[in-house]
Structures are given as C-alpha cells and as structure tokens.
Amino acid sequence: MTPNVTAAPPATALAALLRSMADDEFVIGFSDSEWTGIAPLLEEDVAMSSLAQDELGHAAALYGLLATLTGSDPDTLAYDREPADYRHCRLLDHGRGDWAMTIARRFLYDSADAIRLEGLAGGSWAPLAELVGKLIREERYHRMHAEAWLERLARRSGEPRDRLLAALEALAPDAATVFTPLPDEPALIGAGILAAPMHELEARWCATIAPILAGSDLPMPPPARDPERGRLDHGDAFRWLWGEFTSVRRADPGATW
C-alpha cells in the first residue's frame, strides 16, 4: 500500500510526524470534550463540543494515514497504547483546569498548530498535503475562538485576568513543546514533506503570537524547559485522561459496535 508519490517517503520519520500530530489532536480533542455540559456559557458548550468533534476527526484522519504506513488500524493506534507510548506535546498534559486554563492552552496550541500546518502545506507526500489543506481551513476557526476569548479574559481585570495569567504561567514551561524536534527531521525536509526544522517553525510561532500577547499585556512564554523531551514524560494528569478515554475500550476488548 505504498502511496502514489514520486519517491517513497521516509517511512519512519513520517510515521513519527503523523503520530505526534495525531496524538496532539486526539488529546486536545478529548480534553475539550470534557466541557460538554459544564462550560460556563451555553454557547461555549456548543463551541467546545464542536471543537472537540473537529479535533477528534482530525486525529482519526491522521491515525488513518499512520495506519496505512504501519499496517495498523486507527482504533488500535488511538486506544491500545500505554500512556508512555503517546507522543502528544506536554503542553496538553496539564489537565482540564478552569476555563482560563482551557483558553490559554487552546490559544498556545492553536497558534502553534497553525504554524506547523503551514510548514506541511504543499508537501510532497500527497495524502498528508491534501489533508493539511483541509485542516488549515478548519483550524482557523479554532484560532479565532481562542484569540477572542484570550482577549476577553485578559482585558477584564480581577478574577478573569488573574486566572488567565496563572494559567499562562503554569503552561509556560511547556508552551513551545508542539515544536519538539522530531526524529530524523532532515529526512522529512529532504523529502519535501516538512518545509523547515521545528526550531525554525518555533521562531515563526513566537513572531506570530508576540503581538497578540503584547496587545493584551500578557507575557511571552519562554523557550521549552526541556526541548528534547517535550513529547515524553507524560504525568498524572495525562494518565487520568488516558484512563477516561480508554475506559470503554478496555471494558470489553475486541468488542465490535
């Protein structure tokens, strides 16, 4: 099942890229779905549920591409791994937290994901490039939502702004982990799948979010605390989430629906 491209893609490096993206979308999508029914406003119940549906759909598509490369299937990839085998970024490992934490996480993730998608747009491996073209059109709505809420919380002094600042501070050491270097990035760049190394994409991301944060007098996050391990060492918050999203699957392994 070799995809129809001009040259065989570097399969190992491509699989690592797909896994990191799919796990990111899966974990943030599942985290967002935790707001269904308990969001602070009815409209946000709708919005977070729709966002979650988008992200889980993106994860399903990315796991589907990964499955064709590795001979697996998307459900196995999504649900049948131990917590330590997920490769989402640590930005998504801080638990749902309060509304401000959710908005801060979404803002940091959505802005970073947009830069990553730009770095993959028009790439040489058609199945991914075509999917990315579609993802970009959907993700911009996520970004608008996050930016609108970031500004709304930041400009209301007192509890909203205080909570937002606390959330940004808690996330700061892991804020840049979307750009954790991938195994064998040069192979992806050489094959024309990825336009630039992750550290360069991270610089673009900083340039993109700096004016937005400055506009609301919010601090820029520092570089990642431990850049090489930004997709490893998932903590207790993720283990709890993993227990939730695998609970039905583990309750009756192999069940068909």
């Binding site: 759909g57 399903a60 591409l65």
Partner: protein, 213 residues
C-alpha cells in the same frame, strides 16, 4: 473513529486499487450524457437501469445529505468524480467530505451505495481530500433550498485558506427570515460542524448559517 476508514480508502485509492479502469469523469461540468440510453434510471426496477454518467448523477441528485436534508449530495457539491467501469466492474464515486471529522460521512456513503444499487453493478464510494470541499461548491439550487429552510447560505465570496476573510469582517450575512443585513455572529460553532449561529437585530431571531470554508 469510523472516518479513519476514509483515509485508508484514500491511501488505497492512491496505491492504485482504483487505477487501471477508465479515468473517472470530473463532475460539475455541463457535459451532456454520452450518447446511448439517456433514460433516467428507474428506481426499484427489477432489471438493471441504463447506466451512464448522467444517469448516475441524476440518481445522486436524489441522495440527500443527512444533516442538511434539503440538499442533495450534488447540490452540496461533495460529488468529486464518478467513474463507470467499461466492463461490468464497479461504479466508483469519489466524494469530498465537507469537514474532516464529518460524522455523516459513513451514512452518506451508504446512502449513495443504496441509491446506485439498482444499476446492478458493485458500487465503491470513497472519500478524498484531493481538492478541499469549500462552501462555494454549493449550487445555486442548493443555496435557494437552504434559504427556504431558514439556513443562511454561505457568502458568495469564498473564504480563503489563509483566513483573510475574518468572521467579524465578512459581509453581513442576510437574515434568512426577514432579509435584514443587521445580523451578528453569535457563535462560530453550531449544531453541526458546517454551521454557525447568528442573530438578527431586526426580526430578533437566531438563525443558522453555513460556516464559510
């Protein structure tokens, strides 16, 4: 994660399992039906219906979208290609998902397969992102049907992928109930992935609008 099957389907298609038959015809052109039987396919007929591109498209025009049931899959603009095997092989239909995670996709595939079954051939429906589905693909008939159902059709000017058409700056979406342009965006997200929620300041009705992508 049923949509994942979609991607597998795409990769399989790219791997060449679709290749080797007649090149499927792009849809959307006004190409007349190939000569021969131009009789519309009788539904539920015991004998296989006459088969050509036009007959398949006419049949697809009767397959309604499950989330926007006033629109056929043709009016929604998701039919990308139709291919009929020159021998007795399958009818192949490629569709463009409106959203990557559209939960209706499997239902749509099944509905298409059911509607084409009377032609007496195997039917293969696959999803592809070869070109992105965009809201300007909705036909004029489709736009009228949406409006009649109280859903504002997407702006005529397409949103571009770079996002330069910002939601807050987009041309005012007219209210489908009273026609007023004094409407505001209430929620970028709505009851389905493809819809937003707006509010009309004149007739004071909330309404749904197709999310421009």
């Amino acid at each position: 994660m049923s949509e994942a099957g979609t991607q597998i389907g795409i990769a399989r298609a790219r791997a060449g399992s679709i290749a080797g038959s007649a090149t499927p015809a792009p849809v959307g052109s006004a190409t007349p039906a190939p000569t021969g039987s131009a009789t519309p396919a009788p539904t539920g007929s015991a004998t296989p219906a006459a088969l050509d591109d036009a007959a398949v498209l006419a049949a697809l025009g009767e397959v309604m979208d499950p989330e926007l049931p006033m629109l056929s899959v043709v009016d929604l603009g998701i039919v990308h290609r139709v291919g009929i095997d020159p021998a007795d092989g399958p009818i192949r239909v490629e569709i463009l998902p409106t959203f990557v995670g559209c939960p209706a996709l499997e239902l749509i595939k099944a509905a298409i397969a059911d509607r084409l079954a009377p032609f007496g051939r195997p039917v293969e429906v696959t999803a592809t992102f070869e070109v992105p589905w965009t809201t300007e693909r909705i036909s004029d008939d489709g736009r009228r049907a949406l409006l009649a159902a109280g859903i504002a059709p997407p702006p005529a000017t397409p949103a571009d992928a770079a996002g330069s058409v910002l939601i807050g700056l987009e041309p005012r979406v007219p209210c489908p109930h009273c026609g007023s342009r004094r409407t505001v965006l209430e929620n970028v997200f709505g009851p389905t992935q493809c819809r937003t929620i707006r509010y009309c300041a004149d007739c004071r009705q909330p309404f749904e609008a197709i999310k421009p992508v």
